[in-house]
């Protein structure tokens, strides 16, 4: 473009001045286009604007004295209690656990050449049992057992949380312990709990509300330390054992129940585990529905988690 404009010089009545001006202008145009083309705030993804008319209607509705609560369906309520059990196995090859990078307090954390390993996928070699799958009841209508008053111990030793995934009830005291000769801190995300735990000491934490899906527990001093916690009001929650088995007793019988299933490494939405089991109406949010009879002990049998449901 620039070179062709040279040939026009002769054709211009006013001689050499114009092309130079033209060059300058072309430069200005390019500059301006460069600024204009990306646009204002391009790159940022804009969400939809509010529907202001609907907002005004909604505002009036919320302000009205009646409150106009949408009539929810009355949920059927049964009587008695029942138990749900089963066992998760992993269909894929778990591979070798990766060693963690331990670069602090090595005199304790790597004592005698000890190595710490990633525990995000724990599969029992002989039974293929998948440990640390979390399963809990959503929206229970009634609860059999009161919140326990004795503390649940959550300990750390050799720079590792002894329980990779733990469940507690809202209001239940948790004794956060440090059995190491060095200091740790325990940081439970989403709860604003982040407490220094001096060597050999402990402190009590009580969850004030439910977590929904499990939240991370970390130590900022030793960044490789990681665990998960799940807090539920009703305590209808299980973490699968090393052999993959779980049991939730005292569930409300005679009414529809919905369970949420989660695993740290699940490729599903927010860690949800969804299995291809039409009879349980297992959905993409990692939930299945079931109804139990009074005093029934329902065994879901072996629940196989396919290889591609776990991230590599």
């Amino acid at each position: 473009m620039m070179t062709t404009s040279r040939s026009t010089v002769g054709g211009c009545h006013s001689g050499l001045k114009r092309p130079i001006a033209a060059h300058c202008l072309i430069f200005v145009i390019c500059l301006a286009v460069g600024v204009a083309a990306p646009g204002c705030g391009a790159g940022s993804v804009a969400g939809p604007a509010p529907d202001f008319e609907a907002a005004l209607v909604l505002r009036e509705k919320l302000a009205s004295a009646t409150g106009a609560t949408e009539a929810g369906e009355e949920k059927p309520q049964g009587t008695g209690w029942a138990t749900l059990k089963g066992r998760f196995i992993f269909a894929g090859a778990p591979g070798d656990a990766k060693p963690l990078i331990v670069d602090k307090d090595t005199e304790v954390c790597s004592k005698g050449g000890m190595k710490l390993y990633d525990r995000s996928l724990m599969v029992d070699a002989s039974t293929k049992g998948l440990a640390n799958v979390v399963l809990f009841l959503r929206n229970s209508s009634r609860v059999k057992e009161p919140v326990p008053t004795d503390a649940l111990v959550f300990d750390q030793k050799n720079c590792e949380f002894l329980t990779p995934v733990f469940a507690a009830r809202v209001g239940q005291p948790i004794d956060v312990k440090n059995s190491d000769p060095i200091g740790h801190n325990t940081n439970i995300s989403g709860t604003s709990f982040n407490q220094l735990i001096p060597a050999g000491e402990s402190t009590v934490f009580t969850a004030g509300r439910e977590t929904g899906l499990p939240v991370t527990v970390t130590c900022n001093i030793h960044p490789w330390m990681k665990a998960y916690a799940v807090f539920r009001e009703d305590g209808y929650v299980a973490v699968s054992a090393p052999d993959g088995s779980f049991t939730i007793p005292n569930l409300p019988a005679g009414e529809p129940l919905e369970f949420q299933v989660w695993h740290e490494r699940s490729t599903g939405r927010s860690g949800a585990i969804s299995l291809d089991q039409p009879e349980l109406k297992w959905n993409a949010k990692g939930r299945f529905k079931i109804q139990l009879e009074e005093d029934e002990v329902r065994d879901l049998g072996t629940l196989e988690v396919p290889a591609d449901a776990i991230s590599g």
């Binding site: 404009s5 033209a22 301006a32 204002c40 529907d51 909604l58 220094l196 929904g212 001093i221």
Partner: protein, 456 residues
């Protein structure tokens, strides 16, 4: 470049059409023409046309994107992408928020929040003077360029500041007189505005009247409550019973009681959640206290040394992130991990449903990536405070340091010593920390702080 040429062509056409209409001709007598390739034919291209294009484009760039729209709140797109919300779900959140909290020009709040409408009015809206000459629009005058109109910490200057300006939306504040998990009191916010945050870009607004600082503090609270409600709404979609295309209920029970009330109550509870600070003994032996504090600093009980470093320069733990940056960092990891996993899959051996699912996953990851590039600042590590400088963000009074050690710093890795370190020990640590800027190779007595690197 192709894009650029096309844009030029379009402008050229606009201008040439205009020129033709107006009866302008080139010196050769022809109307403006294109060369054989359809591109600009500069041979017949007079300077005034280029000039016109330049002026037009300059006007376009200098006046911004056309019209001046009323200020609007930005949706929390990072959370929306994380929760995989659909456009209609995002729209519902935006509409509910507009119903509950109004707009940046006309903020309102549900009465449950206990916010003062007059103060919000003074702080909100464009910068203007009312009929008696009182300045309104204080937030946009003093705060929005860093903290953003939405209070998302993403104002135009945010990317150039370190640390980044606070994003109020998670409702987490660092410097306060309440327990770690509690909100700051109104007085805490006022203090941050009045004193600024030493060592950060947050300046002191001490020149503003008490009434203005009061109004701005109220407005920060409003933006924070609004942001927390937005997060709660976005997260509530996952809790819905139906699987997809879900809509949140729009009744009082859900919106006010379940979503707004817990947030509002936490803010109100803060006023009564002050940390109980026992006074330091008046006849304390300061030298002994500093020695005890030093022992605690390096010891296994308080463990300060692990992050603040053996030198106290804040170089013990330099690769950690605060909670705000962690959210973005985690999102980047999710997207990267997802793309890697998706890259290994091939639609070749999928059935139609699986292929659709795979494409939907890729579309989500692609959008999430765009959101992270355009709607979030690059995650940045947090440095533990350099204790040799005598500069403390949350205030330099012994009491301020006591609060920081007792409750830790919410949102930051700094843990709370409360419960495991008794109050008298916390005072010893405070005294030791306060001696550090004056400490020279372990000897006190240097009468003024020096630059840390000169001392070591």
């Amino acid at each position: 470049m192709k894009m650029l040429v096309r844009t030029l062509d379009m402008e050229y056409e606009t201008v040439s059409a205009f020129a033709a209409q107006a009866g302008f001709k080139t010196p050769s007598g022809d109307l403006i023409r294109r060369d054989t390739r359809g591109h600009l034919s500069s041979g017949l291209f007079p300077v005034w046309v280029l000039g016109g294009v330049a002026v037009f484009l300059l006007l376009l760039t200098t006046t911004g994107c056309g019209k001046t729209a009323a200020a609007s709140y930005r949706l929390n797109m990072v959370e929306s992408a994380k929760q995989r919300l659909k456009p209609e779900q995002e729209q519902q959140v935006a509409t509910i928020l507009a119903a509950l909290f109004g707009t940046p020009d006309e903020p309102i709040a549900p009465s449950e929040c206990g916010l003062d409408a007059a103060k919000l009015h003074l702080a909100a809206g464009p910068v203007r003077s009312d009929i008696v000459g009182r300045k309104n629009g204080l937030y946009r005058e003093h705060c929005a360029h860093c903290h953003g109109v939405t209070g998302d910490g993403m104002g135009p200057t945010a990317a150039f500041l370190n640390p980044y300006p606070r994003d109020y939306r998670p409702g987490v504040f660092k410097f306060k007189s309440t327990e770690r998990a509690d909100k700051p009191t109104h007085a805490d916010l006022v203090m941050v505005l009045r004193n600024g945050l030493a060592g950060s870009s947050m300046p002191s607004f001490a020149l503003l009247s008490d009434a203005k600082i009061d109004a701005l503090s109220e407005y920060v609270k409003y933006l924070s409550i609004r942001g927390e409600v937005e997060l709660a709404l976005m997260r509530a979609f996952f809790e819905l019973d139906d699987e997809d295309q879900g809509r949140l209920p729009e009744d009082r029970e859900f919106l006010i009681e379940e979503i707004v009330l817990p947030v509002a109550e936490a803010w109100q509870a803060a006023e009564d959640a002050l940390i109980d600070v026992p006074e330091m003994a008046a006849d304390i032996d300061m030298a002994a206290s500093i020695a005890k504090g030093k022992e605690l600093f390096y010891g296994n009980k308080a463990n300060c040394v692990k992050c603040h470093g053996v030198t106290g320069l804040g170089d013990g733990q330099v690769n950690d992130y605060d909670d705000w940056n962690k959210v973005v960092l985690q999102a980047h990891k999710t997207v990267q991990g997802g793309l890697e996993q998706a890259g290994e899959a091939s639609t070749w051996d999928m059935d139609a449903d699986e292929a659709d699912e795979h494409r939907a996953e890729l579309a989500w990851l692609d959008r999430f990536q765009k959101v992270l590039d355009g709607n979030a600042l690059p995650p940045r590590t947090i440095r533990p405070r350099n204790l040799r400088q005598g500069i403390y963000r949350g205030g330099m009074r012994p009491l301020d340091l006591y609060y920081r050690i007792h409750a830790g710093i919410n949102g930051a890795p700094m843990p709370a010593a409360k419960g495991t370190v008794p109050p008298e020990d916390i005072w010893h640590i405070v005294n030791y920390i306060r001696s550090l800027p004056y400490d020279f190779n372990g000897t006190l007595g240097v009468d003024k702080p020096m630059v840390a690197r000169d001392r070591l």
